[in-house]
């Protein structure tokens, strides 16, 4: 396997993430949301194809790049304004969200450089490994966060299935969506949600750039 095809590859954990996407896709199809399911399935398939070498590794562009820094923040704020004022489930919102998604792929997909080993990922290649105690702390942190996220997913899934017995059951077992949607449907709620969502995306992008994605 070429060096290019090694980029972004760690062994089992990568397949765990791909499995998460595939599992989420099946849940989305199961709840009658084929577009959502297709999105998760496409990314699971793309990542799987990249893992087995069917897709070349994409590295960060060295030449002309997309908006960065203040220009990117301004662009994000422009998108936020459109999402706030556009009709709730109209074509404008959907178009902007699709463009945001496609644009995000260009920032999140590229991998800075190939990991030296499965346990020493890309941007850590030049660093000395952290001491065992620090590794243990990091592992503990990751395990605790993963446990909480899995618990949220299980609680949400339980509410989803238990709420399928009619209106009373749905009222007794609300999903996160049914709790949040009334808030987002209000003008101020939509404003808050869009701003938090956009700022969250920018924060994720910043972390991704530090972690070895597009610079």
């Amino acid at each position: 396997m070429s060096e290019q095809h090694d980029a972004g590859r760690s062994p089992a954990m990568a397949w765990v993430w791909i499995g998460v996407l595939a599992l989420t896709s099946s849940v989305q199809f199961g709840r009658g949301a084929p577009i959502d399911g297709a999105v998760f399935a496409v990314f699971a398939a793309l990542l799987a194809a990249e893992r087995v070498g069917l897709l070349p590794n994409v590295r960060p562009a060295r030449g002309p790049r997309g908006p960065r820094g203040p220009a990117l923040v301004l662009l994000a704020l422009g998108c936020a304004v459109v999402l706030i004022v556009a009709p709730f489930d109209g074509g404008v919102s959907r178009t902007v969200l699709v463009l945001i998604g496609l644009g995000s792929v260009a920032y999140f997909w590229p991998q800075e450089r190939p990991p030296r080993s499965p346990r020493q990922p890309a941007s850590a290649a030049a660093r000395t490994p952290p001491p065992a105690s620090e590794r243990a702390i990091r592992r503990r942190t990751a395990v605790l966060w993963a446990m909480l996220v899995v618990l949220v997913c299980l609680w949400e899934l339980a509410a989803f299935f238990l709420g399928h017995g009619g209106a009373a059951a749905e009222q007794a077992h609300p999903t996160i969506s049914s709790l949040v949607e009334p808030f987002v449907a209000s003008p101020w709620g939509r404003l808050v949600f869009v701003l938090v969502w956009v700022m969250g995306g920018l924060a994720l992008l910043r972390v991704a750039q530090r972690a070895g994605a597009r610079r």
Binding site: W17, E50, L97, I100, P115, A122, H173, V207, A211, A213
Partner: protein, 65 residues
């Protein structure tokens, strides 16, 4: 049952808030959320998966999908 279900969500949100605050209260117990996220996102599959979930939240709540 409604209150129980909502309480479950609130307990989990509270647990996340406590875990996020833990590095500031007791350094050495866990690392910060940002630090952990940066380490996780060094790998493309994790980075792209997290990005897809973030995007989907916007799609789900802002389009009524």
């Amino acid at each position: 049952m409604h209150a129980l279900t909502v309480t479950g969500y609130l307990v989990l949100v509270l647990a996340m808030a406590l875990l996020a605050a833990a590095p500031h209260v007791r350094p050495g117990l866990v690392v910060s959320f940002g630090s952990m996220l940066e380490e996780v996102m060094r790998e493309r599959p994790a980075r792209v998966t997290i990005m897809v979930f973030w995007w989907w939240l916007g799609w789900h709540f802002l389009t009524g999908a």
